[in-house]
C-alpha cells in the first residue's frame, strides 16, 4: 500500500497584519508553519503505515524553505519526501497547482496514482479547499472530502481491500465506502498528530530531499505557474471598516449597562 500525503508550508495567518500606512501585507516576523490540517492527514497516513506497513511519501510544493515541513514529516515517520519547487511554478493558482502536484504524485509513484492521496481539508493561508479535489480530477481518481474517520478493510492475508469513511457534510455525517485508489481531504478529528521521536528528527535533518522541477515533471510550460493560471489577482485592498456606533462605559454599573442594552434593543424593535 502506498499513501502520498500533500503538505503545505504556510504563514501563520493569525499573525499576518496590514501596514495601516501603506495598506500592504507585513510579512516580516511572520513564522512559517506546517498547514495544521495537513498534520492530521500525515498522522492518518502514519497510522496506515503502523497497521498495514504502508509506504508513506510526502509531497510539498513551495520555495526551497519548504523542505522544513518535509523534514518534519520524515522525522515523524514518513518514508520519503519530495519538494516540488521551481521559479517556473511561481504565481500558480489552484488549477496550475493541482496540475503540478498531480504530475509530482505520478512521478513519485512511477507513473500511476498511488492507493491513497491525503490532503488536509484546506490550507489556512488561502482557505480555498480546492487543490485536493483538483488533484483528484487530474489523477482521475474518486474523491471524498471532509473525512472525519477512515477505516481500511483488510482481506485474507491482511492486505487492504477497501475503505469506509465518515465524511462530515452539512446535512449530517455520511458513511461512505469505496475502493482504492482514492483522494481524500481530512478533518481535525481524523487523528491527533504524533510527536517526532528525537532519533527521527536527527535522521530527518540529514535526509535527502528529492527536488522536482518542471523538467523532472516534464510539465507543459503553458499549464504551470502564473501563465498556466486562469485566475488573476487584479487588486488588493484592506477590508472595509464599518466604524463603531454608540459606546457606553458600564464599569462598576452593571445594572445601568444592562438597562442600556435593553433600551437599545427595544429602540431597534428587537425586544418587546
Amino acid at each position: 500500500m502506498h499513501v502520498v500525503v500533500c503538505v503545505k508550508q504556510v504563514p501563520d495567518t493569525t499573525n499576518v497584519r496590514i501596514n495601516p500606512k501603506t495598506n500592504t501585507l507585513m510579512r516580516e516576523g511572520v513564522e512559517s508553519i506546517v498547514n495544521p490540517f495537513d498534520e492530521y492527514a500525515l498522522e492518518q497516513a502514519l497510522e496506515l503505515k503502523d497497521r498495514f506497513g504502508a509506504k508513506v511519501s510526502v509531497v510539498s510544493m513551495g520555495p526551497p524553505q519548504a523542505t522544513a515541513v518535509l523534514r518534519e514529516a520524515l522525522a515523524r515517520g514518513a518514508d520519503d519526501a519530495h519538494l516540488v519547487s521551481s521559479r517556473a511554478f511561481g504565481g500558480a493558482d489552484t488549477l496550475a497547482t493541482s496540475y503540478t502536484i498531480a504530475l509530482a504524485i505520478k512521478k513519485v509513484c512511477g507513473g500511476d496514482a498511488p492507493d491513497l492521496v491525503l490532503f488536509g481539508k484546506q490550507a489556512i493561508d488561502g482557505d480555498t479547499a480546492q487543490v485536493g479535489p483538483g488533484v483528484s480530477e487530474f489523477l482521475d481518481v474518486p474523491l471524498v472530502t471532509y473525512v472525519k474517520s477512515l477505516e481500511v478493510r483488510a482481506g485474507r492475508g491482511g492486505a487492504p481491500t477497501g475503505w469506509s469513511v465518515v465524511s462530515v457534510m452539512d446535512d449530517g455525517e455520511h458513511v461512505v465506502e469505496g475502493k482504492f485508489p482514492a483522494v481524500m481531504t481530512v478533518l481535525k478529528e481524523a487523528a491527533p498528530p504524533r510527536f517526532a521521536p528525537l532519533a527521527g528528527a536527527i535522521e530527518a535533518a540529514h535526509a535527502e530531499i528529492d527536488v522536482l522541477d518542471e523538467k523532472a515533471l516534464e510539465a507543459d510550460p503553458g499549464k504551470i505557474g502564473l501563465g498556466g493560471s486562469p485566475t488573476k489577482v487584479v487588486t488588493i485592498f484592506p477590508p472595509p471598516v464599518k466604524g463603531g456606533g454608540e459606546k457606553i462605559d458600564a464599569r462598576g454599573g452593571a445594572a445601568r449597562g444592562a438597562r442600556a442594552i435593553v433600551e437599545f434593543l427595544s429602540r431597534k424593535g428587537l425586544v418587546k
Binding site: 511561481g90 483528484s136 480530477e137 472530502t145 449530517g172 455520511h174 481531504t185 487584479v234 462598576g252 442594552i261
Partner: protein, 414 residues
C-alpha cells in the same frame, strides 16, 4: 529573470522604493547590483511572491517597470459563453437557501451583463418536485436545467462532477456560481479542473463590468470576484479573463435573498445525460438530532474567550431563550472545548447574517469579524475598551460581562 511576470529596467530604476511600498504581496525589494543607478538601490522581484497585479507598474514614477506579456492560452470561442448559472444544491428535494441568495445576486449580475444573457439554475437530483423548480423561477431563474436521474438521488462527488461538467460543455455559460457549502466546495473545485477554468472560493463581492483584458487589450465583460485572503487580513479582487466559464463560490448568508416573485416566468429544460458510474457508495447519513444551524437564526447570542469556562455558557443559553435566539461562539471557545464547532462563527466557522448579534467577551479578531459582516445589528459587551469588536458594534458596553450578563437576564425576565 525571465520567469518573473514583471520586468524592471535597471537603466530607468532610480531606487526610490515606491514599488516596494506599493506591492501588496511583499514581492519587491531593493538590492545591490552592478549597473544600478544608486548603490544598493535596484528593485528586484521575487517571482514566487509576485501575483502580477501591476500595482508596482503604476507606483513607479520613472516607467522602469513593465509587465511581461505572455502568450495567452485560454478557452476557445470566448464569445460563445453568455449565460449566468447558479448551482441549486438540494438535499432530500429541498433547495438550499444559498441557491436563492445566489439567484438574487444573479439578477444583479444579469442586469450588469446585459446583451441577452439569461439567469439559469442547475438542479440535480432524483424525483425532483415541481415546487422546487418553480421556486427557482420565482427567485429569478429564466431557465432551470434539470437532471433527474437515480444516480443523483444522493450526493456523490464523482457523479455530480460529471453531470455539471457535461452541462457546462454543452451549454457554455459565461459565469457559474455555487454555494460554498460542504457539497459545493468539494465538487465544484473538481468541475473547474475538468472544464479547465479558474475558480475563486468564498467570494464576498461579485459584479460584472466592462473591463480591459490586460493580456489582449480587448474590452470584455468580466466577473470581478472579491474575497478575503490571508485570514481576512486583506481583500483581493480576482478575475478569469481568458477562460470560461468564470466560476466562483459564495458562502451561505453572504448575499441577501430577495423576496420570491411567483409571477416570474421561466422555462424548465430536462437534460437527459449519460452519467458516469458512482465510484463511492453512500451507506447512510447520520443526522445528529442535537445539531444546530446557527446561520438559520435571526438572533444570535455569542460568547468568546472572556466567558472563561464552559459552564458560563448556561447564562448565554438562558439569554438566547429570552430573546428567541440561538447561542454561537468564537473559535477560542471551540479550541478550549467549551462549545462544539457547529456553533462557531468566523472564517473557519460559519458566516452568519442575523438581525441581532449580541456578543460577550469576544474581542473581535479579524477572522471573527469576517463571519459577522452581514449582521444587521451588533451589540458587544467587553471589558477592554479598545477591543476591535467595538469598531464594528452598533452598540458597545465596556464592562464586566459576569455582572452585565446576569443583570441583562434579570432585566429581560421582569
Amino acid at each position: 529573470m525571465a520567469d518573473a511576470p514583471i520586468y524592471i529596467d535597471p537603466k530607468l530604476c532610480k531606487g526610490c522604493g515606491k514599488c516596494v511600498k506599493g506591492c501588496g504581496f511583499g514581492a519587491l525589494r531593493m538590492i545591490d547590483a552592478p549597473g544600478a543607478n544608486k548603490p544598493g538601490k535596484l528593485a528586484e522581484v521575487d517571482p514566487s511572491a509576485c501575483r502580477a497585479c501591476s500595482a508596482c507598474v503604476k507606483a513607479c514614477p520613472f516607467g522602469a517597470i513593465s509587465e511581461v506579456k505572455r502568450e495567452v492560452r485560454g478557452t476557445e470561442g470566448l464569445d460563445e459563453y453568455k449565460d449566468i448559472w447558479v448551482f441549486a444544491e438540494q438535499t432530500g428535494g429541498k433547495v438550499a437557501e444559498v441557491a436563492y441568495e445566489l439567484l438574487s445576486k444573479g439578477l444583479e449580475l444579469k442586469a450588469q451583463r446585459g446583451g441577452g444573457a439569461r439567469l439559469c439554475a442547475v438542479l440535480l437530483g432524483h424525483g425532483l418536485s415541481d415546487e422546487a423548480k418553480a421556486s427557482l423561477v420565482a427567485a429569478g431563474a429564466d431557465v432551470v436545467y434539470v437532471v433527474d436521474d437515480p444516480a443523483l438521488a444522493d450526493y456523490e462527488a464523482n457523479v455530480y462532477v460529471d453531470a455539471v461538467s457535461q452541462l457546462i460543455m454543452k451549454r457554455r455559460p459565461e459565469v457559474v456560481l455555487a454555494g460554498a457549502t460542504a457539497v459545493g466546495r468539494a465538487f465544484f473545485a473538481r468541475v473547474a479542473v475538468k472544464v479547465r477554468t479558474g475558480l475563486t472560493a468564498d467570494c464576498t463581492m461579485l459584479k460584472v463590468e466592462q473591463t480591459e483584458n490586460k493580456d489582449t487589450g480587448v474590452m470584455q465583460m468580466l466577473l470581478h470576484q472579491t474575497r478575503p485572503a490571508f485570514g481576512g487580513n486583506i481583500m483581493a479582487t480576482i478575475m478569469t479573463p481568458n477562460h470560461r466559464p468564470q466560476m466562483a463560490t459564495v458562502r451561505p448568508k453572504v448575499f441577501k435573498k430577495a423576496p420570491p416573485d411567483p409571477s416570474r416566468c421561466g422555462e424548465t429544460v430536462l437534460e437527459a445525460l449519460k452519467l458516469a458510474a458512482a465510484r463511492t457508495r453512500l451507506v447512510k447519513v447520520e443526522r445528529d438530532p442535537g445539531s444546530v444551524d446557527i446561520a438559520a437564526h435571526d438572533i444570535l447570542v455569542a460568547g468568546g474567550r472572556g466567558l472563561k469556562k464552559a459552564e458560563n455558557f448556561k447564562l448565554l443559553f438562558r439569554l438566547a431563550e429570552l430573546l428567541g435566539g440561538e447561542v454561537a461562539c468564537s473559535r477560542a471557545c471551540v479550541d478550549a472545548g467549551w462549545c462544539p464547532v457547529m456553533r462557531q462563527v468566523g472564517q473557519t466557522g460559519k458566516t452568519v447574517a442575523p438581525k441581532l448579534y449580541l456578543c460577550f467577551g469576544i474581542s473581535g479578531a479579524i477572522q471573527h469579524l469576517e463571519g459577522i459582516r452581514g449582521a444587521d445589528t451588533i451589540v458587544a459587551v467587553n471589558s477592554d475598551p479598545n477591543a476591535p469588536i467595538f469598531g464594528v458594534a452598533d452598540f458597545g458596553v465596556v464592562g464586566d460581562l459576569f455582572e452585565i450578563l446576569p443583570a441583562l437576564v434579570a432585566e429581560l425576565e421582569r
